[in-house]
Amino acid sequence: VAMLFVLGTLALAMIGCLIRLLLGPTLPDRVVALDLLGMFAVAVIALFAILIGRPVLLSVCLIMGLILFLGTAAFALFLERRARP
């Protein structure tokens, strides 16, 4: 049952992340928030894999982990290039 408690905390964390994302003064803030949110998504999926006992979800986490960083990299790249085209 503790799992559910953790699920709750994760949910809380996600909401916090969302708040930061909405408020975040500068763009990088938002990007970081998005990145973290992505990580939480992976965590939730992992937790969920345990809950419903289907290890197959792990590959989903793997893919998410890999691609997530690509998104942030794209943002970073873009920010940099906009500064000095």
Partner: protein, 121 residues
């Protein structure tokens, strides 16, 4: 005797997953709080990435301990490995980008090593 082992291993496996999940949860919430509380971009970033990676890492580890099957464990190790590689790179990139685009530093920063080192290459 083996009956004891089985219950112990069951309890152990269950307990271990529980512990890991809790740790994962704790770190995740820490990351979120860090993200919210930290004054400027850079400090927020390092908090989020460090705590986040660790939190999710534990969570995935918990999955490994929960299913004591070989392929699951291998895959989760791979996931954790990947996370540990990609997350720092991502934050590095963001930091670089943020710095170049002039994200404000925290007013009380002690000293800024980066100032002069990079010319606008």
């Amino acid at each position: 005797m083996n009956e004891f082992i089985t219950t112990a291993s069951v309890w152990l496996n269950y307990g271990l997953t529980m512990v890991l999940v809790l740790i994962g949860g704790f770190f995740s919430i820490m990351a979120a709080v860090g993200l919210l509380r930290m004054p400027d971009v850079y400090t927020r970033m390092q908090a989020a990435t460090k705590a986040g990676t660790l939190g999710v890492g534990c969570m995935v580890l918990a999955v490994a301990t929960h299913f004591t099957r070989l392929d699951v464990i291998l895959e989760s190790i791979l996931v954790i490995g990947m996370l540990f590689i990609t997350a720092p790179i991502a934050s590095h990139l963001i930091a670089r980008a943020a710095y170049f685009t002039g994200a404000p530093l925290w007013d009380k920063t002690a000293y800024d090593e980066m100032r002069g080192c990079y010319d606008a290459d």
